[in-house]
Symmetry: C2
């Protein structure tokens, strides 16, 4: 059962290729009778159009690219579901590209997109990304691109974020309310604006409650489990050890919990912790983890909706379509 093309299909029907094409695309030029006949034969012969021929001719791919650092991460995998739910409805495919937190990879992926592989892009930058020319280049090349979660402030496009400053502020304030005096901040990467905002929210909360935030309590983590474990352990071993932690990355939960266990520190008695996380298992951890839960699905869905709006009318001002969707603080045993 080899795959058939439109020419062979047309032969079978004693029709021209153009007529068949129009019939399949429900053109008004074709009579209902012919359309029915074409559809029926196409079905029985198992005709499936070649997407590359269509893309080439139509100069659109019906693909959107999703560029993210990792897929093995609750936030991103849920966001993908949000994006996909919209894309499917619009008859689009989602091409997921992973940067694995490498700027080099990110640049290469966007470069490839210049070739027309995708009609639009939804992206969350890598932790290494410190400049954004590759993004602006793609946009000025006519490919609409929307940033979500980890955005670059200086790129002029729509940005879907959560209220990083406010939620971090609230989380820190919550720790203060629970009696923490020395609160540490575990960041993702110095360069990310998302990280800066969370850090600023943390600092602001400390200031507003007259707690000094020595730099020693701000740590930037790596992408690996073990180095993070060592960093956290070192932090918790110093004489002036923190009694509260605001962690801005899901991946930091395990290192913190493990380090505490190994150092015989009890959560929440000795150290309280709140983490930006979408882990479903947060509520059944030992102890259950207080999280700032981001609206992952919603953010993905929103980003996709705006992208498709941009694909419809190209002169839409994307910059003004930026949206902030609030996260929610889920208070659990790790802080109480």
């Amino acid at each position: 059962m080899k795959n058939i093309n439109i020419r062979e299909l047309a032969q079978q029907l004693n029709l021209s290729v153009s007529t068949v094409s129009k019939a399949l695309n429900d053109s008004h030029e074709i009579s209902d009778e012919t359309k029915k006949r074409v559809l029926k034969t196409a079905a029985t012969l198992n005709y499936v159009p070649n997407p590359y021929a269509s893309s080439l001719r139509g100069r659109k791919s019906k693909n959107i690219g999703v560029v993210i650092p990792e897929v093995a991460d609750s936030f991103f995998s849920i966001a993908i579901n949000g994006i996909e739910s919209v894309a499917k409805e619009k008859g689009y495919h989602v091409l997921i590209c992973l940067t694995h937190e490498s700027f080099e990879n990110e640049k290469n992926i966007l470069k490839e997109f210049q070739g027309g592989r995708v009609d639009g892009v939804i992206m969350s930058v890598s932790r290494e990304t410190i400049q954004s020319d590759h993004i602006s280049d793609l946009i000025s090349n006519g490919v609409p691109l929307i940033l979500f979660d980890r955005v670059c402030e200086d790129v002029e496009t729509a940005k879907i974020t959560t209220d990083d400053f406010e939620s971090s502020y609230k989380a820190t304030e919550h720790l203060v309310a629970q009696g923490c005096k020395k609160i540490a901040f575990l960041g993702i990467s110095k360069s990310l604006s998302l990280n800066s905002k969370r850090q600023e929210g943390y600092v602001q909360a400390l200031n507003d409650h007259d707690l000094k935030s020595g730099n020693k309590h701000i740590i930037h983590c790596t992408n690996e489990l073990k180095p993070n474990y060592r960093l956290v352990k070192k932090l918790l071993q110093q004489k002036n050890r923190p009694d509260g932690i605001v962690a801005s990355m899901e991946k930091l939960t395990t290192p913190v919990y493990t380090a505490c266990a190994d150092l015989n520190l009890s959560i929440p008695q000795d150290v309280k912790m709140v983490c930006f996380s979408n882990l479903e298992t947060a509520s059944i951890l030992n102890p259950s983890l207080t999280t700032i839960t981001q609206p992952a699905f919603e953010m993905g869905k929103t980003a996709a909706s705006i992208l498709f709006r941009a694909l419809k009318k190209t002169n839409l001002s994307l910059t003004k379509s930026s949206i902030v969707i609030p996260s929610s603080l889920m208070i659990r045993s790790s802080t109480t």
Copy 2:
């Protein structure tokens, strides 16, 4: 900065389109000097070839399709990383398609693949999949397809699995050794062969240790959190409640833990639990969870390697390339 095509590039170089194409593809017909000149100009003009034109002409897409039930699942997201690591090395893209456990979606995706969108497929079937004509059709259409984890026995192709029977047997035996007398099995779906194997391993272990396994202790779960919670709760409320649980799906952890908490049952005192799971947080749950950890990355990587071998020489016997990679039982506090 609009994207340039090969014709314009050729004009800039005062060369023919064919020469430029050959130079870019490092053909032996072109002199080194010309190649260098072409590469240089292509770089400065930011030329990126249109992938659809290449795919159309070459009748290969340089894409492989990955069809899986969900991406928000540790096993699958890690497997994707394994697949991607191989694909990237071979210069291929990965098109991830989610069935969301729907047979209808799965059929539609494979149907689309008939059109030549991908050169090969790596797939794990949905929980609803009870017959495999759609798979065989695609294969007989010339698209190599490899199954992993959730396979269909009757499809003649390579199957990458883990030792479901043995690991389930070992897990059950472990529960018996820990003193469990009434062990329940929580399955994914009746139709999956993966599920049958795990169930058979469980039953065999019970038999070998002279424990009867009334059908009441075999439950097939749904795909939703809340119904699963209700099922588990009901199971744990019956007079003859189990003192051990073998769960064959990562997603079952939260319902079991929550149900136990709500019923004031202690894990592991009242109920011991072991779960097929790749959750990184298993070790910091309350209590830490004994898991059967599948070699997710390895399975993905192996599946991809075999697929690429098949893409090289089409007459390779895929059926004989099936591989079983063992899982490992990680004993933690939920069973001790």
